[in-house]
Amino acid sequence: MFDIQTQLFEDQDIRFGPIDHEKDPEIEARWTHDSEFMRLMETSPARPMSAAMVKKQYEKLEKQVEEDKNLYHFMIRAKADDRLIGKASIYWIEWTNGNGFLRVGIGAAEDRRKGYGTQALRMLLRFAFAELNLFRVAVTVPEYNEGAAALLQKFGFVQEVCRRKSLERDGCRWDLYLFGLLNDEWRNQARV
């Protein structure tokens, strides 16, 4: 069925929306004070940021979206009250090869384990494969982020690469995994 009716940016409990430069910086600044969240999301050193810093980052991000044309960024909001819950993006898109990287984060601890990540990834995959028409997408996951690995496997992602001892955290060296999913694998699977 040719479905252009089903909204790309709406799922059961959440929706994708644009950045709100007034309200979002303060909330995202709070997330950056949670070092565990930052270390699950980023491999660069975690550091707490002020709302003013986050605001600058948003401006840089929107400039990058406009100029580089290889990045899509969404804010994840609660459908009920439009409250900011997390963020999702497709980055490093290579248009000639038809591939890109995905990233999803649920910011506040109390919003995790409620299925928001699953819904966000479901929307992001449909956007990547049915709107951007990418041929494949990839996600990098540190060994210690077991939740992310489980979520990706639920969607049929295959662990393709294990970069041995690529990260150093808490005095240990950890592997970095790369998961990949192809457009036809996504299209032919039962919907999660």
Partner: protein, 188 residues
């Protein structure tokens, strides 16, 4: 102490921007060379633009970026380049290299460049691992990297589209311990 910049066939140098630009512009017109090294579309930049890029690089040396030009020991001919990108936080270096002069392909120059690079990465940059990516359609490079001690760590399926065919990228890595063991083995 060991000479960090001299291998068995090649040495590492840094040429002036004019020289680098001239060579680079000539090498870029060889699309087989480009496609062996890169997954991006081939592109032709002017000598002026290329020189300006090298001049800018010369102005500000960055602690996470190391570039070398490569000359043969026998003829003192400038044949290629090698670059390292260092993740200072996680003590990892990524390496990329190219031999623009085709008559120097398949004669061990690339392997010698990589051996010199590993010595530099592990004894001067002191990283914990060195990583690289290579196209599956470049088996000559894969064999060379294996000779240097790299292990295959996986493949990203069909991530490069060339001539209507989706091909895989291979990802390889070598850890500091593995490299040290190889060095000790060599000396016995």
């Amino acid at each position: 102490m060991k000479d960090l910049f001299r291998g068995e066939l090649v040495r590492f140098t840094m040429e002036e921007p004019e020289m680098r630009a001239k060579a680079e512009v000539r090498w870029a017109r060889d699309t087989e060379f480009h496609r062996l090294a890169s997954g991006y579309p081939a592109q032709l930049s002017s000598e002026k633009k290329t020189r300006e890029w090298f001049e800018k690089q010369a102005e500000g040396l960055k602690p996470e970026r190391y570039s070398f030009c490569v000359r043969t020991l026998a003829e003192d001919k400038y044949i290629g380049f090698l670059g390292l990108w260092v993740d200072l936080t996680h003590s990892e270096a990524w390496v990329g290299l190219g031999i623009g002069e085709r008559e120097f392909w398949s004669h061990g120059y690339g392997t010698d460049m990589m051996k010199l690079c590993l010595q530099y990465a592990f004894t001067e940059l002191c990283v914990e691992r060195v990583s690289l990516g290579v196209h599956e359609y470049n088996p000559r490079a894969v064999r060379s990297y294996e000779k240097c001690g790299f292990r295959l760590e996986g493949r990203t399926r069909k991530d490069v589209l060339r001539e209507g065919r989706y091909t895989d990228s291979l990802w390889m890595g070598i850890l500091r311990d593995e490299w040290l063991r190889m060095q000790n083995g060599d000396q016995k």
